[in-house]
Symmetry: C2
Subunit: 140 residues, 2 copies
């Protein structure tokens, strides 16, 4: 049976999963990459090196995050959360959310610290998606 | 170390994984859903009920399939395959590829057979993405 998830189920899946597939649009073409993220109920925070997705999101900030829990072909939940890309530049906010990301994903390179040591400007990108629409479904 | 996958590694990942995240564009907004698929080296075949992604792909046929194998935050492979959506209407082709999909994913509802029994036209959609660009990376 396929059904819509309720608000609480959608939030729970978004808050507990560790990998999202981030979708964006590059010159009218879809582009999807896996990302680690944290969701605080309003924003999803993501840490990234510069690259195609960042260039794309700066040009066309509409994004989606697809998060799922798939047991098998007919037992799964999937949530799609849509929102706008916002880059975080404020040093205090950067330090706070990078700290949260590193606490949840300790294997992520702590680029911020490495950069501070050799006095180079940080090349790591920290951004968030302000979630304004969520749609979840499940099959069981 | 992050590196580009070679052609053979990209093909291997696409051929062996069972879940892809299908990306498409709806009114300029990215849309991503998990799908089961088979890849024959040229096309990726997908079975679907009617819904938002089908409406979107009929209107804007450019699509991508993101496929990955993620061990942890810094050990993963991800391939992004781009191509155009083509719906398959020919009954012989439909039977052949639906058979292949059902052989690989036995839990998928064999809608085609159910439909044949009550003489309704099949509502199941069978489509393929003609892959014309592949880009794979890995971290290890």
């Amino acid at each position: 049976m396929i059904r819509r998830l309720d608000h609480e189920e959608e939030r729970k899946l978004l808050s507990t999963r560790r990998i999202a597939r981030l979708g964006c649009v590059i010159n009218g073409e879809p582009y999807v990459v896996p990302v680690n993220y944290i969701f605080d109920g309003e924003y999803a925070y993501v840490h990234s090196l510069p690259g195609r997705k960042i260039t794309a999101l700066r040009a066309h900030p509409r994004a989606c995050l697809q998060v799922d829990l798939i047991e098998d072909t007919c037992h799964w939940q999937s949530v799609l959360a849509f929102g706008d890309f916002e880059e975080i530049h404020d040093p205090t906010e950067r330090a706070y959310y990078l700290g949260k990301l590193l606490a949840r994903y300790p294997l992520l390179t702590p680029v911020e610290s490495a950069m501070a040591e050799d006095a180079e400007p940080p090349s790591i990108i920290l951004f968030r998606i302000r979630i304004d629409k969520i749609c979840g479904i499940s099959e069981s």
